[in-house]
Amino acid sequence: MKREVPLFITFFVGTLLIASVFIPPAESWGENFSVYFDIIAVFAFFLGGGNLLRIHLQKVASKRPDWGYSIVTLVAFLVMLAAGLFKLGNPGGISGNLTTAQSWFQILFQNIMSPLGSTMYALLAFFVASASYRAFRAKNRDATILLVAAFIILLGRTPFGTMLTSWIPPQYDLLQVPNLAIWIMSGPNLAGQRAIMIGIGLGIVSMSLRILLGIERTYLGDDR
């Protein structure tokens, strides 16, 4: 029961989904399984929420370091849940659109979650600069190639690149930095990305096959 049933479910569902691509009468079953998948995915969010509650309640109960911050998490979680799940403060009531401009849910999203997420993401501007400084050094041939390609693209995406090389005549205008940048993207970059893509594609195909056939089962906690 612990091992055979899950392996059977995986095999059955996966094979049916593959078959639905080739057998027209099975097409709608493929769709149905996707809908079931989505519904289970929602339960996974609830599982996540349950775990979050448990972890932070434990932290507060046992007064572990920084337990005060766990209270912040718990309060934020419950307030957002009240506004979202019970639609507290939603002008349309329980059947109203969750994200209308006046709903608490949308206000909390726009003024707390959105700035936090965007700023966290924006930190990348700093990190990308420090990583360039640290990593783009001509240590060896591979690193030099990386550096040169990056530099041309950087230059090509600013008006500065245009200014530097606009004197190059039209019959050699590939050498103008912006054109060179476009060419690198649609030539060598495309080739490299495609090689990676073919490799990864095959990797995913073979991994999927191993999962379906029950050869790959680490995710079930198999210790062989």
Binding site: L17, I39, L81, F109, L123
Partner: protein, 270 residues
């Protein structure tokens, strides 16, 4: 806590209050009351600064923002998926009463009882919260993994394997032009035929050598090894180009945040 910490806290509280007051006084919208609006925009600015402060070093403001974020976002995902999928797709198929309550039109279809299947699997999944019978959640996990494997298998084979091979098969010489006139007509014009041909050659050789690099079951020596070297160079150009291209995106994000601070909060620009 140290005395300096208290001072910093007090100063921040004061600044917060001042900002709250001014933002409330200058609010013109009609979505919420000025007092709430002033508080919200000040809070947004405060949280923005709290996160940015992390690049200097870890600090209590960052910790506060981080924990607030975790709580809010976990609930956000739960609510969104509950309303869109449970209420939108599941309830109209299993219960007339609940559909009515949530204002959803009931969908009377012959196979509706099958929709109890994902509900049961979902509940099995939630049993993971109990350590005794947590293992039954594997059934749901198996369903998820099986669906993924089944979906990915064909999609990746089609789009990332077959289509990519067929897109790489292009003529390396211009049509009706077996090389003679082409050589007399070499220009490096970005839109010219010679560059177009050059691009096709680069793609052809680049893809070949790149694939050779990803061969695992053969030693990379001799001709194979040399192709694999070229392959890694192509990959390095790719990575360099992608890195350089991405810088722009990353800067944009910071522009977005700073625009918020300067425009929406401080009102320095219109």
């Amino acid at each position: 806590m140290k005395r300096s910490t208290y001072i910093v806290m007090a100063v921040m509280a004061l600044l917060f209050a001042v900002s709250w007051y001014f933002k409330a006084a200058t609010y013109h919208g009609n979505v919420m009351s000025p007092l709430v609006a002033g508080f919200m925009i000040t809070l947004a600015a405060f949280l923005t600064l709290a996160i940015i402060s992390f690049v200097y070093q870890d600090n209590p403001f960052y910790k506060f923002a981080e924990h607030l974020f975790v709580g809010i976002s976990a609930a956000f995902w739960m609510c969104q998926s509950f309303w869109s999928t449970i209420v939108g797709n599941l309830i109209p198929r299993i219960s007339t009463g609940l559909s009515k309550y949530f204002g959803q039109p009931y969908r009377d279809e012959p196979w509706n009882f099958v929709y109890w299947l994902p509900v049961i699997l979902g509940i099995l999944l939630l049993l993971r919260l109990s350590s005794k019978i947590g293992w039954v959640s594997r059934w749901a996990l198996a369903f998820i993994v099986g669906t993924t494997a089944g979906l990915s298998f064909i999609r990746y084979l089609r789009s990332d394997f077959m289509e990519q091979i067929s897109s790489t098969m292009v003529p390396l010489l211009a049509a009706g032009n077996s090389g003679e006139s082409l050589l007399s007509n070499i220009t490096l014009s970005a839109t010219g035929p010679f560059v177009a041909m050059l691009t096709n050659w680069v793609i052809f050789l680049g893809v070949i050598c790149g694939i050779v690099y990803f061969f695992f079951s053969k030693e990379h020596t001799g001709l194979f090894g040399r192709a694999s070297r070229v392959g890694i160079w192509i990959l390095m150009i790719t990575f360099g180009a992608a890195f350089g291209y991405t810088v722009m995106g990353r800067i944009t994000l910071l522009v977005g945040r700073l625009t918020f601070l300067y425009k929406d909060w401080l009102g320095l620009i219109s």
